[in-house]
Subunit: 420 residues, 2 copies
């Protein structure tokens, strides 16, 4: 079974210079994976007509569906229209309907004439169809190329997402109504090393011998199990993946979490338990509360918190006893414990979640960077965890944040909460 | 002048499926740009020997320097070694020194035998030289390919960065001691739309006629001016860029900020003024304090803060008068003002920085998502700003964070602070 695949081309000097990560590649990859069309390759090229054209031709040789993003704006470095025309071997032509739309857009802004450079946004490679942009001014375009199809989308993620849903996904469904599918299913785990996850699944990996395929992905304190199943249609792929997913769930037990993210699962567990949380943060300085607030609707469970970056604020705002700070120092298990109890009290939350530690690059109070103490205070008492986290300042803070959320999750599950 | 260029290949199914963004592409792009070797293209391919080999050959056709990252681990889906051997047309051979290193590494972990799959990490394409990894277990490798050179690095960003500095950058300096340079210089601005920045620089863009090249990049509430100058050597490129950079600095005035990031400049301004800051956050729930704490050494200026996500905590922890909350509601200029004054007092900080608003997706108290009120309280009084921010929940919170840091910067500059 050879599934339909896609290849992506992102355009922009700033991506090559590392001033911006290619988030659109990930965004489109996720959308395409969810429709059963895996991405075979991503390319990034600069604002250069020849390089754009060569990348589009390479992409079209790799996959029948090509999605190009970026370079559709009005400025002189927006060259995707020209690159596509060169790749396909057609001229650029001004589209009267797009010209009219431009005139109307500027008239609506109270301007009688369109700036000269903006007319370029009315140009299309011959044979292309414009796709209306529901979220911005740059239209997308659809360009047939032999038995391939090229979609070009604006680089602004919000506009790209809007055009994907409004135009690209529906066109793909019409164009390829029935087709082989590659289904990628992910189980997320926290609290286990990648090697431990791999060892737990070894018998199943041996049994499946690559169908479905099982891969492990460690990142940011989490390990994901990715099961990839190919089938003649969606039902066949699902049937192939199901036993492996069931095996993994059984073998990994409590380490598996559901929901789109760890913070989403924690918020769901809190809401299910009718509980709330407040955070007392030192080295993470707000990252834990901010990650919980990523979840739409977090206000039902997140009370707030205190960032006690300066040591004296741990005493003043979190009621950490002076004797504890004097005897154990700010980076210690007793201080984390007192911070958790203090923040739950001062914010009237069911649970207090506290972090103290050393982000680096300097030692602090004799402790090396990566030293982290976590505590969760709740109705059943206080749960603490000490860890030594590898990496630089950003990595230490990120891993400490994930570990803190995982500890809160453990406390909630021990208390009997179940996310619904 | 045709400068030396590089092409990057990242390997990993998880990148194609959008489970991870290609941060290594940005990381290497930035390092290469800083050494005057611009990246011509990035490619991402999956864990597939043929696709890796094809991507490496395509990259080598585009640029004399090829850097491959990822796929060097011990598991069955780490196939970069095999892909490189196929691309270059040489066999894989087990390296006795790497075998010995593996034995020693596992012995140091107290294990008498090396797991069977780990031996693969001792394999090298014929002609390759291993590069010791100062930060992890997977060695990198250097593989000559005709007049091209291929470097393969592990995908873990920390290990990749360590190997870049320890092995790749020194080897590039030795290999290409004197060469044409493309110098990319960036001026960062806050508080101006991209179109306003472009309009201010229009005369200079006309004058330079592409040499140096001037581009504008708007992202996350900031607009960057990127000046790209090509020269026979570094000094020539610098001389070409200098007048344009001077023009931009003059034309954009206070909007330009220096330092690696807005938060770094704010911390530097605070330290120079002998001042401190505390943050009172609602919709951002800790993001502003966390961003300030990104800066190593932030503890000299960041006291801490309060996350008052629940409305009652605005009164309880930040002393926002009940009358203000009753009359104006939590999302209002008077509440932001009172939060800023309250947090400066409770945290004993020179400046209090406050944010309140609606992240969405739901309306709150009749205000639509994107409604944001900012306030800075300091020795000279209170500065406020109201804004309406476009985008989804994540975008609103990100732009509100940037706008808050920009407002604090304005207050500090008006008070006469200069970063040194």
């Amino acid at each position: 079974v050879s599934p339909l695949r896609a290849a992506l081309v992102a355009v922009g000097d700033e991506l090559l210079a590392g001033e911006k990560v290619n988030g659109n590649g990930a965004l489109l990859g996720e959308q395409l994976a969810a429709t059963g069309i895996p991405v075979r390759a991503q390319l990034v090229v600069g604002d250069d007509i020849d390089d754009i054209a060569a990348a589009v031709r390479y992409a079209a040789a790799l996959a029948p569906v090509v999605i190009v993003c970026g370079g559709l704006g009005p400025t002189q470095d927006d060259l995707t229209r020209e690159g596509l025309a060169l790749a396909v071997g057609v001229p650029l032509e001004r589209d009267p309907a797009l010209e009219q739309a431009l005139r109307e857009r500027f008239a609506a802004l109270g301007r009688t004439d369109v700036p000269a450079m903006n007319w370029r946004q009315a140009d299309l490679p011959r044979g292309a169809t414009p796709m209306a942009n529901p979220a911005g001014s740059a239209p997308g375009l659809l360009l047939p190329f032999g038995d391939r199809v090229i979609y070009a989308l604006p680089g602004v993620p919000r506009e790209l997402t809007a055009l994907w849903h409004a135009a690209v996904a529906p066109d793909l469904r019409r164009r390829y109504p029935s087709r082989p599918v590659v289904l990628r299913s992910t189980l997320r785990t926290v609290g286990l090393w990648e090697s431990a996850v791999a060892a737990a699944l070894e018998p199943e990996v041996r049994r499946t011998a690559g169908s479905p395929q099982v891969a492990f992905l460690a990142s940011g304190g989490e390990t994901r199990v990715v099961v990839t199943a190919t089938g003649a249609d969606l039902a066949a792929a699902q049937a192939l993946a199901a036993p492996t997913l069931a095996f993994a769930r059984q073998a990994l037990g409590e380490a598996v979490y559901d929901g789109p993210s760890l913070q989403a699962e924690v918020i769901a567990l809190l809401i299910a338990a009718g509980a709330t949380v407040a955070c007392a943060e030192s080295l993470t300085a707000g990252m834990v509360a901010a990650r919980l607030a990523d979840v739409a609707g977090a206000s039902a469970a997140l009370r707030g918190g205190v960032v006690a970056y300066a040591t004296d604020l741990k005493a003043r705002l979190l009621q950490v006893p002076a004797a504890v700070l004097a005897a154990h120092g700010p980076v210690s298990e007793p201080t984390a414990r007192a911070m958790a109890i203090g923040v739950a009290a001062s914010c009237s939350a069911t649970y207090g979640l506290a972090l103290t530690g050393v982000a680096g690059p300097q030692h602090q109070d004799g402790h090396p960077p990566g030293t982290v103490h976590l505590a969760v205070a709740g109705p059943a008492g206080v749960l603490t965890r000490a860890l030594t986290v590898p990496g630089d300042r950003a990595a230490v803070r990120g891993l400490a944040t994930t570990a803190a959320l995982a500890l809160l999750r453990t406390a909630l599950r021990r208390a009997g909460a179940t996310a619904t």
